[in-house]
C-alpha cells in the first residue's frame, strides 16, 4: 500500500488505520464522533496527501483546462481557486476537482486519489498550445486545517495573516518553505484552509499544529463532515455515468462558455431535464442509511441511497441519493429500506449543516457570509 509522508506520525499517534484506494490512511485517532466535534467547535488537521497534485503551466494552460472542465476558467483571476468538474464527451463526470491559479499561467489541479493517474494522462492527452502537464504528487503533501479556530491557528504557525483570505483565495506561504501554497478551501463545510507543500515542510507543519492543540482527524470524520455539508464524493455519489444536472451540480456549468467537452449533451439536459435528482434526507432515531439502500415512496421504490451516515451535529442519521424527480422536493416523506425494514425519512435541502454560518453566529462575528461552498 502507498503511504503518505505523514504516515509515521499517524502510527506514533496510535491511529486506527484503514485502506483507502491503495493508501494506508488514518480512519480515526480517538473516535470519529469526537474528531467530528473538534472540527465543528475548534480545529482539526487532516493528512490528505493521498490526493493528486497536477501542475499545468504555460500560455496554453488556461485554454487546455478550459476545454476539459465545465467552469469558465477565464473568469478565475490569479490567486483564486475554482471547484469544477472534468467531463467526457457524453457530459459524464470524470472527476470533481479544485483548480488553484497560483500564477498567471500556473494552475495547481487537485484531483481525487483514485483518479490521479487517469486525470494527469487525460489532461496531458488534451494539451493545446504551449503547455506542460506534470503530476507533481510524489514528494508533496497536503495538510487541511479546518474549523472555526483554523485561521487563528494557521496564522500563529505560519506567522502570516491567512485570516484575511476570502473563500477560495490562494496564497504562497514562504514562511513554511518553498513551493508552499495555502487556500481557503476545504471539504468539511466549516471554515478552513488546505496547504499544499513538499513532504518535509508538511511534517514540520503537522507537528507544529499538533503542538498548538489541533486535533488530528481521520478519514472517518472527513466523511461525516463532508456529508453534513452536502458535499459529493466522487465514486460514491457520482461517476462517469452521472451528469452534473443529475447530481445537483448544474451551478458549476458555465453555459456561456463557447465550447467544452460534453457541452452539447449537457445543454440538451439543461433544456429537457434529467431522469433522476440528487437529494438529501434526514431520519429520526434509527439505523444508519448506507450506500445501496432502496428509497421508497408510497410503497414503490423510487431511488437509491449513495451516501449515508450519522450526523454528530444534528444527532440523527442523514443521507444523500437519487430519486425520481417527482419525489425530490424538500418535505417529501420517504422510507429507507435498511436491512429489509423501512424507516421514515424526509427530503431536506442541502446542506444539512451550514457550519460556517453557525460558527459565525456563535462567535458573534460580523463577517459577511459569502460564496457557495
Amino acid at each position: 500500500m502507498h503511504k503518505t509522508a505523514l504516515h509515521p506520525e499517524h502510527l506514533k499517534l496510535g491511529a486506527k488505520m484503514t485502506e483507502f484506494h491503495g493508501w494506508d490512511m488514518p480512519l480515526y485517532y480517538t473516535s470519529i464522533l469526537e474528531e467530528h466535534h473538534s472540527v465543528r467547535s475548534a480545529v482539526g488537521v487532516f493528512d490528505i496527501s493521498h490526493m493528486g497534485q497536477v501542475w499545468v503551466r504555460g500560455p496554453g494552460a488556461c485554454g487546455t483546462l478550459n476545454e476539459l472542465v465545465v467552469s469558465d476558467l477565464t473568469q478565475v483571476g490569479p490567486d483564486r481557486a475554482c471547484y469544477t468538474l472534468l467531463t467526457n464527451e457524453q457530459g459524464g463526470i470524470l472527476d470533481d476537482l479544485i483548480i488553484y491559479r497560483v500564477g498567471d499561467q500556473d494552475y495547481l489541479v487537485i484531483v481525487n486519489c483514485a483518479n490521479r493517474e487517469a486525470d494527469a494522462s487525460w489532461l496531458s492527452a488534451h494539451r493545446r498550445g504551449e503547455v506542460e502537464v506534470r503530476d507533481i504528487s510524489n514528494g508533496r503533501s497536503i495538510v487541511a486545517v479546518q474549523g472555526p479556530h483554523a485561521s487563528r491557528l494557521l496564522d500563529e504557525v505560519a506567522g502570516t495573516r491567512v485570516g484575511g483570505l476570502g473563500r477560495f483565495d490562494v496564497v504562497p506561504l514562504p514562511s513554511l518553505g518553498e513551493w508552499v501554497w495555502a487556500a481557503r478551501t476545504g471539504y468539511t463545510g466549516s471554515d478552513g484552509f488546505e496547504v499544499f507543500l513538499p513532504d518535509q515542510a508538511a511534517v514540520r507543519l503537522w507537528r507544529r499544529l499538533l503542538e498548538r492543540g489541533a486535533q488530528p482527524v481521520g478519514l472517518g470524520a472527513r466523511d461525516t463532515l463532508r456529508l453534513e455539508a452536502g458535499l459529493r464524493l466522487y465514486g460514491t455519489d457520482m461517476d462517469a455515468a452521472t451528469s452534473p444536472y443529475e447530481v445537483g451540480l448544474g451551478w458549476t456549468v458555465a453555459v456561456h462558455k463557447p465550447s467544452f467537452l460534453g457541452k452539447d449533451v449537457l445543454m440538451r439536459q439543461r433544456e429537457g431535464g434529467v431522469a433522476r435528482k440528487f437529494i438529501g434526507f434526514e431520519m429520526g432515531e434509527g439505523p444508519v442509511p448506507r450506500h445501496g439502500c432502496a428509497i421508497v415512496a408510497e410503497q414503490r421504490r423510487v431511488g437509491t441511497v449513495t451516501s449515508g451516515t450519522f450526523s454528530a451535529t444534528l444527532n440523527k442519521p442523514i443521507g444523500m441519493g437519487y430519486v425520481e424527480p417527482a419525489c425530490a422536493s424538500p418535505g417529501t416523506p420517504l422510507a429507507i429500506d435498511i436491512r429489509t425494514k423501512p424507516y421514515p425519512a424526509v427530503v431536506v435541502k442541502l446542506p444539512f449543516v451550514r457550519a460556517r454560518e453557525q460558527a459565525n453566529v456563535a462567535a458573534g462575528s460580523s463577517t459577511p457570509l459569502t460564496g457557495r461552498l
Partner: protein
Amino acid sequence: MNIPGDLRYTKTHEWAKPLEADVLIGITAHAQEELRDVVFVELPVVGAAVKRGDQAAVVESVKAAFDIYAPVSGTVTRVNSALTKSPQLVNQDCYGQGWFFAVKPDRPDEVKTLMTAEEYAKTIQAEAH
C-alpha cells in the same frame, strides 16, 4: 483488557450474566473498543424466542452494523430501551448500563457451557495474532 470474572462469554464477543429470573446479555469491552461510536442499537422484541447462535440484535457504529448473537436459547424477557435514546451507553458502560437484553433460558444450565473469563481472554489474544 476489562473481562469481569463473574460473567460468561462467547467467541462473538457477547457476555452473559445469569440472574435470578433470566440471563442478562451485552457486548464485551473488546467489542465496543473495536466498534467505537455506537450510534444505534436494534433490540429484539420482548417475548420473542431466540436460539443460541442466532442473530438477536444489531449494534451499529458510524462505519458499519454488526449482528449480536444470542448466547443461550430461550425467551426475551426484557430489553434495554435506554439504548434507543442513548446508544453511547454501550461504549461508556458495556457491562452495566449498556446491557442489551435479557433471556429466560430454556435450559438454566446452558449458560455454564459458555466460556469463562480466562478462556475468553485467551481467544482475544489469539485473535490479535
